[in-house]
């Protein structure tokens, strides 16, 4: 009972403080919009099928011309860092509220609105490309909205056998003869009951980006413009990749990138290697206050 009294007191105090700030002229919280632009270098990507003339073409460091027909990726575990260093997590343990699928074919998906971000000045953003292992289970009962957004079983943002979500899904074409490229990433990591044995790969990548100027949340709702440069896919900081078609153990264009075999090279290029590179393909284009 003593504890309960303490909690009530604590709650009252918190409520008192919260209601105090209600009286001030600036709101206690506002929205922050994350606006994603998917590019090849500085050119925004236009999707297209094999022979589409309007599709944005890119040439890799290895000299392979390529373009995309489909481009999707998952953003989750979003945290905003205030100028004093304190971290504001955005529903980081709830995929329904704090994760989204960026889909180049759906313009509205390119803007993800974070609601109720506390008033303050923010200098940095952190987010995950993919889904953290502890949340990465294809159990519809856990996060039904995100499960639906990821497309149930037909948009292939799920790895059924790995029982986790696909983190990135890229379909496209490469070389003059438009060979198919199909690059999917996702985690296969699993551990045994006692935690003595861990197997598989973790394709989740934590991204840290310094904002070009502080995002000021208060009477205004700022917008953070994030560029995802898919030139990195084949010509990244970690790996320079030459695509080859076939079903051999070293082929990587399609189809066995659907497995963990060649996948991690793409993962490191897109999301960084998790050590020296925590940006991968992402950069801040600007902040609109």
């Amino acid at each position: 009972m003593k504890n309960i009294k303490k909690y009530i007191l604590l709650t009252l105090t918190v409520l008192a403080i919260v209601s105090c700030s209600d009286d001030d002229s600036a709101p206690v919280a506002n929205n922050v919009t994350l606006s994603f632009t998917n590019t090849f270098n500085d050119t925004p990507i236009v999707l297209g099928d094999a022979t589409a003339t309007e599709a944005t073409e890119n040439t890799s460091a290895a000299g392979q011309v390529h373009h995309f027909a489909e481009l999707k990726y998952v953003i989750s575990n979003i945290r905003l860092i205030e100028t004093d260093g304190s971290e504001i997590p955005y529903h980081i343990n709830n995929l329904d509220k704090g994760a989204t699928v960026i889909n180049q074919a759906k313009p509205q998906s390119l803007n993800y609105v974070l609601s109720d971000i506390p008033t303050g000045d923010y200098k940095q953003i952190k987010f995950g490309l993919g889904v953290r292992s502890d949340l990465n289970v294809l159990d519809e009962t856990k996060f039904p909205n995100f499960y639906a957004a990821a497309g149930e079983n037909d948009t292939e943002m799920m790895w059924e056998w790995g029982t986790g979500y696909r983190f990135t899904k890229i379909e496209g074409f490469y070389d003059a003869d438009h060979k198919e490229m199909s690059i999917h990433t996702g985690s296969t990591i699993d551990d045994d009951e006692e935690g003595n044995f861990i197997q598989g790969v973790d394709a989740y990548r934590d991204i840290t980006l310094d904002l070009t100027e502080n995002a000021i949340v208060g009477s205004k709702a700022p917008k953070i413009n994030i560029k995802a440069d898919f030139n990195n896919l084949l010509s990244g900081k970690s790996n320079t990749i030459t695509l080859t078609s076939g079903s051999g153990m070293n082929d990587n264009a399609t189809p066995n990138v659907h497995t963990a075999v060649q996948m991690m090279k793409f993962v490191d290029n897109l999301g960084g290697n998790g050590q020296s590179d925590t940006k991968g393909m992402f950069s801040i284009q600007g902040v609109e206050n």
């Binding site: 409520l15 519809e140 059924e160 056998w161 029982t163 296969t188 598989g200 075999v261 996948m263």
Partner: protein, 340 residues
């Protein structure tokens, strides 16, 4: 704000109450006496966190046989895991809803409590984490946990069983996984002629079986080891390759090229009931498998060292093949496959 405060107080009030005067008498759910064969290796540690109970197993068995687990209510777990085939089937690759064909041969469900890895590529390390795979896979049941729960929650038989097994009627994914695993833990096959000869010493091999046993120990037992007849390792033994573009064997899980086209060494128990053989049913008979070993397997960078050291083959005379097949038939557990 006030409302939230009242709600908060309200919640505290209720939770305080339930701590004090909630003492419901639950129906008894006794632990099931599972016979662990003395010649078997240790069980998976997950077993001890989910030991079979009478109603947990009854519930698991009912779920295992429920076709509502598939999106169109056409197949259950038992549609592919057929008891008379040691809970495998007779097809090269598993057939799911709408006659969709999977990429691999249906594995038998037997002695799973003693396994460290599940699925041919070992993608799951606890049985409780395995059941979701066929439920959501497009080529298998193509359903989802919410779909399944919505369908079975209207069924009063389940309400009763969930209360008996777990104390209340709530149907959750975790309870489904646990009860199916409990049922599967009870599927132990250890009553073959081999067990009666070697463990119980109540029967004897025929001369051909005995010769087969000797050839087996010399040429097969380094992989098909222990009383489970698998050392649970993953090996590329140069079998004809599955050209399905999603297949890379265990490498699909680990990402290591050394695991390319490697699969878990299959148990040979009840092997006579589980044709065809190979990860995608490449061989129709045991004789075909032995002929293939004798003639030579496919070369690969990561071909198992045992094959590499022996010119990529296991040389066998026709007589040795006959003897081996006779021995492998002593691993048949008629009681297990008949369910009596």
């Amino acid at each position: 704000m006030r409302n939230i405060f009242y709600l908060f107080i309200g919640v505290l009030f209720f939770s305080a109450c339930s701590n004090d005067d909630y003492e419901k008498i639950l129906p008894k759910n006794p632990a099931l006496a599972v016979q662990i064969p003395e010649n078997f290796p240790a069980v998976n540690a997950a077993y001890y966190t989910n030991t079979p109970t009478e109603f947990g197993v009854a519930l698991g068995e009912k779920l295992f046989n429920d076709k509502r687990f598939s999106t169109d209510n056409s197949i259950s777990c038992a549609s592919c895991h057929i008891q008379s085939h040691a809970f495998a089937d007779d097809k090269p690759r598993a057939i799911g809803v709408a006659n969709r064909e999977g990429i691999r041969n249906t594995p038998p469900i037997q002695n799973l409590a003693f396994m460290k890895f599940y699925n041919w590529d070992g993608s799951k390390l606890q049985l409780e984490k395995q059941a979701i795979v066929p439920i959501i896979t497009h080529e298998e049941m193509d359903s989802s946990l919410s779909q399944v729960i919505a369908k079975i929650s209207k069924d009063e038989d389940y309400t009763a069983l969930f209360i008996k097994a777990f104390g209340d009627e709530e149907i959750t994914s975790d309870r489904i996984y646990k009860s199916i695993a409990q049922y599967e833990y009870t599927l132990i096959s250890a009553n073959s002629k081999y067990d009666k000869v070697v463990r119980d010493k109540t029967e004897t091999f025929t001369e051909t079986e005995q010769q087969g046993y000797e050839v087996f120990q010399q040429k097969c037992a380094s992989c098909h080891a222990t009383a489970l007849f698998t050392d649970q390792s993953f090996r590329n033994i140069g079998f004809p390759l599955n050209t399905n573009t999603n297949e890379t064997g265990r490498a699909r899980v680990t990402g290591n090229l050394e695991d390319y086209m490697s699969f878990r060494v299959p148990s040979l128990r009840n092997i006579a009931y589980t044709a065809p053989y190979g990860s995608f049913g490449q061989f129709n008979t045991l004789k075909e498998v032995l002929d293939y070993f004798d003639e030579g397997v496919l070369e690969a960078d990561n071909l198992d060292p045992i094959f590499k050291e022996n010119n990529n083959s296991i040389p066998l005379t026709e007589q040795e093949k006959e003897q081996l097949i006779a021995f492998m038939h002593t691993l048949s557990d008629a009681k297990f496959v008949s369910g009596k």
